[in-house]
Point group: C2
Chain length 206, copies 2
C-alpha cells in the first residue's frame, strides 16, 4: 500500500517517544505512569519496556531528544541583517523572535519539567543547559561580536552582552510563566517586552 519507509518497530518507537514527551510534559515525571504512555502511544506496555529498559531511561532519552529542536532556534539568532540605521529595528525583530519562541507553552512546559526533576536527574539538567541554553547564548554572542566589529555596538564581553540581552527580555515573562500554570502572553505583551528590552540594551551597549 503506502510507502512505509519505516519498519513497524521504528514506527512504534517513535509513537512511544512522542506520547512520552506529551504525557511527561502534561503530568510531570512522577505523575506519569507507564500505562499512561503505553495507552497514548496505542502500544502495549510490554512494547514500551522492549524499547526502553525502564522509566528513567525513557525519560532521559525523551528529554534529551528535545535538544535537537534547539537547532532551529540557533538559526533564529545567528543571522541579523545589520545596517546601521535599522539596528534598533533589527534587534527588535530578533528580540521578538526570541520571545515568541521561548514563551510558547511547550517550551515553558519543557523547561518546568527539567527544572522540576533537576534533583533526580542532575546530569539531564546540566546537559540540557549546555546543549540548549548555552548554545543559543554563544550564537547570540558571536552575532553581537559581529555587530561590535562593525562599530554598531560597544561590547567588551560578547557573551555577557548576550546574557544581558536575554535577561532584559526574558526575565519577566519567563518567571511569570514558571510560577503561573500558563498565563498566555498576548502579542501586545511580547511587543512591549521586546521594545523595552531593546531600548535598554541599546542604552547600555551603544
Amino acid at each position: 500500500m503506502e510507502e512505509t519507509a519505516q519498519s513497524r518497530s521504528v514506527r512504534k518507537h517513535q509513537a512511544i517517544v512522542t506520547a512520552a514527551i506529551e504525557v511527561f510534559m502534561a503530568k510531570g515525571y512522577p505523575g506519569t505512569s507507564m500505562d499512561d504512555i503505553a495507552k497514548l502511544a496505542a502500544v502495549s506496555k510490554q512494547t514500551v519496556y522492549k524499547h526502553f529498559t525502564d522509566k528513567e531511561k525513557l525519560f532521559r532519552e525523551v528529554v534529551l531528544a528535545t535538544t535537537a529542536q534547539v537547532d532551529a532556534m540557533i538559526d533564529l539568532v545567528a543571522h541579523i541583517p545589520a545596517e546601521a540605521d535599522t539596528l534598533e529595528e533589527n534587534l527588535t525583530r530578533l528580540a521578538h523572535r526570541l520571545l515568541t519562541t521561548l514563551t510558547q507553552p511547550q517550551v515553558l512546559q519543557l523547561r518546568r519539567l527539567i527544572i522540576a526533576n533537576a534533583d533526580a536527574f542532575p546530569e539531564l539538567g546540566a546537559t540540557w543547559y549546555e546543549r540548549g541554553f548555552e548554545r543559543v547564548l554563544a550564537t547570540l554572542a558571536t552575532t553581537f561580536q559581529r555587530l561590535a566589529d562593525r562599530g554598531l555596538l560597544r561590547i567588551d564581553d560578547p557573551l555577557l552582552a548576550a546574557n544581558h540581552f536575554s535577561g532584559l527580555l526574558l526575565w519577566i515573562p519567563v518567571n511569570q510563566a514558571m510560577f503561573h500554570g500558563g498565563p498566555q502572553h498576548t502579542r501586545a505583551d511580547i511587543d512591549r517586552y521586546a521594545a523595552a528590552g531593546v531600548r535598554a540594551f541599546l542604552g547600555a551597549y551603544r
Copy 2:
C-alpha cells in the same frame, strides 16, 4: 520548668511545619511521605493529621508560610543612601545584596519546589509570585522612582526598570541554579554579576 510560653500543641505544630518545609525542599512534593515528616518532626503521624487535614493542605500552608521571610528582603531593597557621586557604588551594593540573598541554596530550592508543583497547585504559584516576587519588584521600583525624582536616573516606568535591573543581575545565575542541582556561586562570581549588571543598568537608565 522552663517558661514554655507556648502550649504543647503549638510546639508540635511548629515542629511539623519546620520538618515539612525541610523534607519537601529536599525531596519534593511527591517524593515526600507523611511518615518522613512525622519522623523528622519527632511526632506521630496521627498528630500530623490532627493539625493538617491532608498532605495537600500541609504543603500549601507550609509553602505560603515562607512568604513571610520575604519581608526581610524587602527591607533590603527599600532603602538606598543615594548621593550622586556614589550612585554606582550604592547600586552595586544593592545588587550584591540581592544576588547574595537570591542565590542562597534554600531560596533556590524553594523556588524549584514551587515551580515544580505549579501545575498541581496553581494558586500556590500565583500567590507566591505576588507575595514574594512582585512585592520585591514593587519596592525596588519605588526606590528607583525616588532616585529618578532626584535626577539621578532617567526612568519612565519604574516597575519596568526594576524588572530590567533584576533581569540583568539574576538571569544568568538563577537559570544556572535552576538547571544544575546546585553549582554554588562563588563570591567572585557574584561580584562579577553585580558589577556587570549595574554597569549595563546605568548605561541604560542614566
